[in-house]
């Protein structure tokens, strides 16, 4: 079953709004929001939770002041600078602790506890456009790569159970751990970019990443009419890389208006942008090997 992932190398290119539109255009799919740090797709799809789960991952060191004799060995050995000494008492800075366990094993007094970290929640929901799998990490947490893998696994099971044809995912921003976790084994990456110097720069980095993980990719240039020259440069770059340009979408305030109303653009209007998106979706479906 094909898995289509919409990514952009960074936020703010309109990735989530486009994913929302594709979710409306695709007939048989599970929708997945893999941006677990700052998910936004729910603001368009208004999911109602069917199942809610806690996400626990990794551990965190905690020094028990009763048992600690303040020898300072942990602070000296911690490579993350996560152990603070205040007036001769040692404590773990939860923001800096990476949960490596070094202090736990080194402490001669066994004064360091190592409880599991409750990092966030994930859920399976129903939406007007189909089932959705999504999550919210608590602010400041890491390990989103593992949560991304969990969501993708659940989306696949759900699609199998319900006989759905496609997994459509809104990817995380950036090119780091969560994106790497989203890409591996994905069938098609739809890269959304903007005709700006940073858009171009981020595009190149995310294309490199797709190449690295051997994931086929296509490109959508959003707001292409803001800068004809950059758009041309991006198109040339894509041609050079053998990447298909799936669509050039015009800048249209209707995109924001739809968002303010909590709708996806193809529900909100029938204008040029919406029809360009329909064509783009057709290309994506073909490329991903969907029957639709």
């Amino acid at each position: 079953m094909p898995e289509v992932l919409v990514i952009s190398g960074k936020g703010g290119t309109g990735k989530t709004s486009l994913t929302g539109a594709f979710a409306q255009l695709a007939t048989s799919k599970v929708i997945c929001d893999l941006d677990v740090d700052a998910p936004d797709l729910h603001l368009l799809l208004h999911p109602e939770a069917l199942e809610e789960h806690e996400f626990r991952s990794g551990n965190q060191a905690e020094i028990d002041p009763e048992r600690c004799v303040a020898c300072g060995l942990c602070a000296e050995k911690c490579r993350f600078d996560a152990i603070r000494e205040v007036d001769g008492a040692f404590a773990v800075d939860p923001f800096k602790c990476e949960g490596c366990k070094l202090c736990v094993v080194l402490c001669p007094e066994q004064a360091v506890d190592f409880p599991q970290r409750y990092c966030g929640d994930w859920q399976i929901s129903g939406t007007r456009l189909g089932p959705m799998v999504h999550a919210q990490l608590f602010p400041g947490e890491e390990n989103s790569g593992r949560l991304v893998a969990l969501l993708r696994g659940r989306a696949r099971e759900l699609a199998d159970e319900q006989g759905l044809e496609l997994i459509l995912s809104d990817g995380p921003p950036g090119i780091g751990c969560p994106v790497i976790s989203s890409l591996s084994g994905t069938d098609l990456a739809v890269i959304v970019t903007e005709p700006t110097p940073s858009g171009r720069h981020d595009l190149e980095r995310v294309v490199e990443l797709c190449t690295h993980f051997k994931v086929p990719a296509g490109v959508i240039v959003n707001k292409h009419d803001l800068n004809a020259e950059q758009t041309r440069a991006i198109s040339d770059y894509c041609a050079q890389q053998g990447l298909e340009v799936l669509a050039l979408l015009p800048y249209d305030p209707a995109m924001t208006e739809a968002m303010v109303k909590g709708l996806v653009i193809t529900e909100y209007s029938d204008n040029g942008l919406a029809s360009a998106l329909k064509e783009a979706w057709q290309r994506i479906a073909d490329k991903a090997g969907l029957g639709a």
């Binding site: 960074k10 490579r79 602010p139 780091g176 858009g199």
Partner: protein, 293 residues
Amino acid sequence: MIVAVASGKGGTGKTTVSASLCSVWDTPVTAVDLDVEEPNLHLFLCPEISGSAKATLEVPRLDEGLCDACGKCSDVCQFKAISLFGDVLLAFPEMCHGCGACLEVCPQGALSPDHRELGEVLWGSSGDMGFVMGRLRVGEAMSPPLMRAVKKRLAELNSQRPGDVIIDCPPGVSCPAVNAVMDSDVILLVSEPTPFGLYDFTLAWEAFGPLNKPMGAVINRAGLGDGKLAAFCREKGIPILAELPFSREVAESYSQGQIVAQATPELNQAFRELAANTRELYLASQSKEAAHA
């Protein structure tokens, strides 16, 4: 003063604000790009790079001859970076966090420090402004250790040439973002007045709130969405330090790689006010601290 320019999410104009703020800052300043996954600040400030260094992470190297497959190292490793398969030990350096635990516990001295390349740190100047950035190697998943290397370089440069620091932070509210704002004196949160913007802003406010640093909002593309973001700021007592109007002109000048503060006299004025308001917020927090002490 260290100013962290952050945002709940990318694409809100964080880099535009950082670059513009740097360009109107009227005391010595160093611009830092801690968004090491997608550094963009240099595209606007066009610094002359005068030096660079590879940043590495210490990972274990195995001497098979000394290893007796006791498994102590794989038991301690929390990141599955070293694993015992039967009596064969395998290391996966790309998963290693460089904590050193395996090296500490190995009774045979079979592990010694090796290095994995994280990316590079680059520095230089743009006019009078100092400049430092980090660039993560493509395929590398861990940005915090590279950010530490950038901060270390910044500290060295700043000891030679003291001044203020403006940090373009990574987007989002997860570990790297918190890591970037952690050492700052003031946090500017750049957001858009849309439902996405408000949601991401709320997350950022929750993430950075516990750090107890003065925080101000910069509303970018004002007029584009609705008034809920401003209402949220009023309710939570977050000062709005600047509202930058949305205009197609601004979007176009940005797309040409221009520093927005230099696009029109009005925008220039708006960023000067933002600079002044930021300083004021900082000074107010300092005097509050002094009063408490």
